[in-house]
């Protein structure tokens, strides 16, 4: 079977072929870009947090009333929580990592006022934070119990004597050397010594450039609110959640409580990204289905139109496989033209999205994947109509239609 | 009624030039029943298309019902086909999805008649061809002869000045063919001009006059000699 006669048949039915090609081209454009963006989203959501998110319970406590004593309440809560069976570790904290709410500060790595400022989320935690978050101490030491400052302490500030930072922040502020023992300075040139380095954890806002720059301050959260990050024994989180809430309710009635799993809070922070990914994937699936059905529809129609011609071919000796091959090659040619066009369009659309909106540049692997997918789709779509064409009886040729 | 003067039709493709008609001149008078015969490839179909204003000739002059129609626009030609010509085809060409009533209705719709007038005309036309009771049937429920009657009713419903028939009995058995020819004669005797294209000499014999085409020209130099006489090689009565 030669390609030339098929090509010449196609050029006579230029519009039909052009439409199939155009459809393939647009489908490739949309599918490649959507897949790329969806995968980027999913990768974004799946970034390893460094924390044991699945086992952490978050309780937010908000004190009210004249009788509420903040530091005493925290001490009592911690004692109660740590005594609960199934609880692995607890740290108080002012804010909750990856929750979309938090505080950030700017710090310099030297006393020079013109030195660059590094931004980081900061968390007020105690010496149990490593165990409670499930993060790893990479270098240096943990906070000592006596370092933890009460919220009513005289020297309570955002610049305590000692701090622990993430490796990401340490590497940014002190590139090429160990940050241990170095100081981070605030705007008034007060410094905090870095005593420990966290391997990895995330801060407050999932879409922030400095998401992985985190500082721990050895302090109780300021009144009147406090959160507790409670790490359960593996698998015991859900059973512990109601227990934790009722226990805390009983210890102090002068406050409001809100209990969630960290998993839920993190999922909430990524909700928009996940929704985008779902929308993109839906678009991909729908479009591939439509395109496939469209090709099936057109191919079936062509087969019906050519019944007589196919019968004649069969009568003069074409085998079934020759008929099938004819349709496959014809379809392959149209698909390939569409793919060639679509490749350009896909790159163009990505360029447009990248310049107009905050979309990354296309990774060309996706183009190759898209091409393969559409070739397969083209074959799958035309297979059945081609098989039906091959079943046309040679006797048709002698009949008048 | 119908007057063709040196009509030529040339089809050109990239490779060949085909002269389908060569300076054909033909007159058909009011009330005549003319058969146009000729072998395959003689130009019958082209003659039919030009006579029916389905095609425009490359050159020549064509007057229909006193009006020069050789240079009309597509729209004007549609109008004349609709108002003055009734077509009867070999394969009936009824629309399979429409019932008999709606099939006859088709040209009347384009004519712009109101509903009452259309209904009257359809009833009358179908009664004329003897199918007044089958209006709600689909073409596929009728025999070939009945289908051709519907086609004739469709051709008649608009009161055309002449009927153009293309092998009207080609798809019918001999009994049905005879009935259709009887019907056509009846219509003709009521005053409607008929031009019939056929390759069947038997059929042609029933016309008043026979015109033979050969290679796009009239085979007979004397178009006014009645064909029956000529064919039987007898002097005219």
């Amino acid at each position: 079977m030669e390609i030339r006669p098929i090509l010449s048949a196609m050029t006579r039915n230029r519009t039909g072929s052009a439409l199939v090609a155009a459809q393939i081209a647009i489908t490739l454009t949309v599918v490649v870009n959507c897949t790329f963006m969806a995968v980027k989203r999913l990768e974004f959501i799946a970034r390893p947090s460094g924390m044991d998110i699945d086992n952490i319970i978050v309780v937010r406590s908000f004190g009210f009333g004249g009788d509420y004593a903040h530091d005493a309440s925290i001490a009592k809560d911690l004692e109660t929580l740590r005594a609960l069976p199934g609880v692995r570790a607890v740290t108080p904290s002012w804010n909750i990592p990856m929750s979309g709410g938090g505080s950030a500060m700017g710090r310099r790595a030297s006393l020079d006022e013109d030195a660059p400022t590094f931004n980081a989320n900061y968390y007020r935690v105690d010496e149990h934070a490593f165990a409670a978050l499930g993060v790893k101490l990479l270098e240096g030491r943990n906070f000592r119990p006596e370092e933890i400052m009460r919220s009513d302490a005289e020297n309570y500030s955002q610049t305590p004597p000692t701090i622990i930072v993430t490796k990401a922040l340490a590497d940014r502020a002190f590139p090429g050397k160990s940050a241990l023992g170095e100081y981070l300075y605030d705007g008034l040139n007060k410094g905090s010594e870095i005593v420990g380095i966290i391997e990895h954890m995330y801060g407050a806002w999932v879409d922030w450039d400095d998401f992985d720059k985190v500082v721990w301050l050895p302090q109780r959260p300021p009144a009147p609110s406090a959160s507790y990050l409670i790490r359960a024994e593996p698998g015991r989180r859900d059973e512990l959640m109601p227990v934790v809430e009722t226990t805390l309710e009983r210890t102090n009635r002068q406050r409001l409580l809100r209990t969630n799993s960290l998993e839920e809070i993190v999922a909430n922070s990524y909700e928009a990204d996940r929704a985008t990914a779902v929308l993109l994937v839906t678009a991909i699936v729908l479009l591939l289905t439509i395109t496939c059905l469209g090709i099936v529809g057109l191919a079936s129609f062509t087969v019906r139109q050519r019944t007589k011609q196919i019968g004649t071919r069969r009568a003069i000796g074409a085998r079934r496989i020759d008929i099938i091959r004819y349709f496959l090659i014809e379809n392959w040619l149209m698909t390939s033209i569409g793919i060639a066009l679509g490749t350009g369009l896909a790159i163009g659309l990505n360029y447009l999205l990248a310049t107009q909106f905050d979309v990354q540049r296309l990774d060309y692997g996706y183009l190759v994947g898209g091409m393969l997918a559409l070739w397969i789709l083209g074959f799958a779509a035309v297979a059945n109509p081609a098989r039906r064409a091959a079943k046309i009886s040679p006797a048709i040729a002698t009949r008048t239609v | 009624m119908l007057s063709m003067n040196e009509i030529s039709q040339v089809y050109r493709t990239e490779l060949v030039e085909t002269h389908a008609l060569r300076e054909l001149t033909l007159q058909v008078e009011n009330g005549e029943f003319v058969a146009v015969t000729g072998p395959s490839g003689s130009g019958k179909t082209t003659f039919l298309n030009i006579a029916g204003l389905l095609e425009q000739a490359s050159s020549g002059r064509y007057t229909l019902d006193g009006q020069d129609v050789s240079t009309l626009s597509d729209n004007q030609r549609s109008r004349i086909r609709n108002e003055k010509i009734g077509f009867i085809f070999q394969s009936f060409n009824l629309i399979p999805d429409l019932n008999i009533f709606d099939n006859v209705d088709v040209p009347l719709r384009y004519r712009g008649f109101n509903a009452a007038e259309r209904r009257d005309r359809i009833n009358q036309a179908l009664t004329t061809v003897g199918l007044g009771s089958r209006m709600r049937h689909l073409p596929s429920q009728l025999s070939g002869g009945q289908q051709q009657r519907v086609a004739i009713a469709r051709a008649l419903a608009g009161d055309p000045v002449f009927l153009l028939a293309d092998e009207p009995t080609g798809n019918l058995d001999s009994l049905m063919a005879r009935q259709i020819m009887d019907l056509l004669e009846e219509i003709n005797s009521a005053g409607t001009t008929i031009v019939m294209v056929t390759h069947d000499p038997e059929l042609a014999r029933r016309a008043h006059r026979n015109v033979q085409l050969l290679d796009g020209q009239l085979a007979s130099p004397e178009p006014f000699v009645p064909i029956r006489t000529q064919q039987l090689n007898r002097p005219s009565a």
Binding site: G16, L19, A22, Q23, I26, T27, V30, M37, F64, G65, Q158, D186, G187, L188, R255, L256, R258, E271, A272, R274, A275, T276, L279, L280, A283, L286, L287, T291, L293, G294, G297, L298, F301, T302, L349, L353, F357, D358, T400 | N49, G52, L54, D74, N75, S78, R79, I80, R81, N82, F87, Q90, S91, I95, D97, V106, R109, Y110, R154, D166, N171
Partner: protein, 438 residues
């Protein structure tokens, strides 16, 4: 003739049901996908308070430091919010008809009835003008007094739901509501009120619910409150306490002014510029004067309420529709080509090209209409799906009634557009072709 064409179209479409179903599905899915996104964006970008939005202005002053602009992405913009001291100063301007500084906070609400547990309430600290400025409907009472603003009195306006929770829905005007450790006299109870977009504070979540309680903004200057909105600071200054924060260059207040006329608007701009010029002499406002007045919709656009994300999805949606339309063109062409013999016959029987054209345009229009109905259903489903996967879309992912007719119209128009070429081609069928038996 239109009805005749419509009848022919129905006949023709019922003849090849698979092909018809495919066309309707292609248009329906294309329209459905496109309109789902459009409906969402439409809500996000439409004017939430059209009666007044031309007179309402978000006021911003560029109080940021010389080193860098407030926003790296929009370096020409002034900060989204104001400092405490500038907000206090702005309230002195005589030009706006109404004006209010505001910020978000949280409180605990303690019902008088012991059987009801205390609960969190979101609070908006604002001025009495807020309610008239944004046309807040009241069920009982009304805004608090001018004096309450001036003297930072403990007074409160409750949302409908909060009044239900605290007072069982009774007229609570004049009664005391306990918030945190203090009591507040109820000045008014709002009727149910929830703008789709929380346009008066798009900085702190444009999809948020209206706050549960409203308190005089001046209270925040008298005693410590638990602020709950975005706070941005640039200056190296010592901020250890709540009071340090009030004195600082940190921005966390929103400010709205209702301006009566364009003359007043110009005057107000001059007034603001004069104010910041004065502040420059005190060493503040290090950047070039850049005081901004934006209308409700302008400010929503500046703050990207609709978001880049939505526009990217919109691009995809439009391409999606185009793909579906190309698909439809192919299918229409196929079915029209199959009809060529009948068209030739109709032409022979006297139909003009224009009549054939109209007949088939009606046919594709009918397909479009059916596709539009399907698309409408799919849009409803799509928006319901969107609400399921995106909580913040709860109010915005709705099909506004005015879009229903538009959806159908777009479907019919796109189908006709898709059918234009096939229809044009079918009109060119020669009346002489196909009439002979082949």
């Amino acid at each position: 003739m239109f009805l005749y064409y419509l009848r022919l179209a129905k006949l023709s479409l019922s003849k090849q049901p698979m092909l018809t179903a495919l066309m309707i599905a292609a248009i329906g899915i294309g329209i459905g996908a496109c309109m789902t996104v459009t409906a969402y964006l439409y809500v996000l970008s439409s004017d939430p308070i059209p009666e007044k939005s031309a007179h309402l202005y978000a006021v911003r002053l560029d109080s940021w430091g010389a080193d860098q602009p407030f926003s790296r992405d929009y370096p020409w913009e002034a900060p989204w919010q104001l400092t405490q001291r500038d907000s206090v100063a702005l309230l002195e301007s005589p030009i706006p008809v109404r004006q209010a500084a505001m910020r978000r906070a949280v409180y605990s609400a303690i019902p008088a009835n012991d059987s009801v547990a205390p609960f969190f309430v979101s609070a908006r600290m604002t001025g009495r003008d807020f309610f008239d400025m944004f046309q807040v409907p009241f069920l009982y009472g009304g805004p608090w007094s001018v004096d309450a603003d001036k003297s930072a009195l403990n007074t409160v306006v409750l949302s409908h739901a909060t009044n239900e929770k605290l007072f069982g829905g009774e007229n609570s005007v004049g009664r005391e509501a306990r918030l945190g450790s203090e009591s507040f006299v109820v000045a008014g109870v709002m009727d149910r009120w929830q703008p789709t977009i929380l346009f008066y504070d798009v900085n702190n979540g444009p999809m948020n619910d209206v706050e549960d309680v409203f308190l005089p903004w001046s209270i925040a200057g008298r005693k410590e409150i638990d602020g709950a909105g975005n706070t941005n600071c640039f200056k190296d200054e010592l901020i250890e306490t709540y009071w340090d924060m009030l004195e600082s260059e940190c921005v966390y207040n929103q400010f709205w002014a209702e301006i009566a006329s364009s003359q007043d608007l110009e005057a107000y701009q001059v007034w603001l510029d004069t104010y910041t010029e004065g502040q420059k002499e005190l060493g503040r406002f290090e950047r070039p004067t850049n005081n901004r007045l934006s209308t409700v919709t302008e400010y929503m656009e500046i703050r990207g309420v609709a978001g880049d994300e939505a526009w990217v999805i919109m691009c995809i949606g439009v391409l999606f529709l185009i793909a579906c339309m190309v698909n439809t063109i192919g299918l229409i062409l196929a079915r029209f080509v199959a009809k060529s013999p009948v068209i030739a016959l109709r032409r022979a029987l006297g139909a003009s090209k224009a009549q054939i054209f109209r007949q088939h345009l009606v046919e594709v229009g009918l397909v479009g209409f059916a596709g539009g109905i399907l698309g409408l259903g799919l849009s409803y489903a799509g928006l319901a799906g969107l609400r399921m996967i995106l909580e913040e879309a709860e109010r915005a992912a709705r099909l506004r009634p005015e879009l229903i007719a538009m959806t159908i119209a777009i479907a019919v128009l796109s189908a006709m557009l898709a059918g234009l070429y096939p229809t044009w081609r079918i009109c060119r069928v020669s009346p002489a072709s196909f009439l002979k038996t082949q």
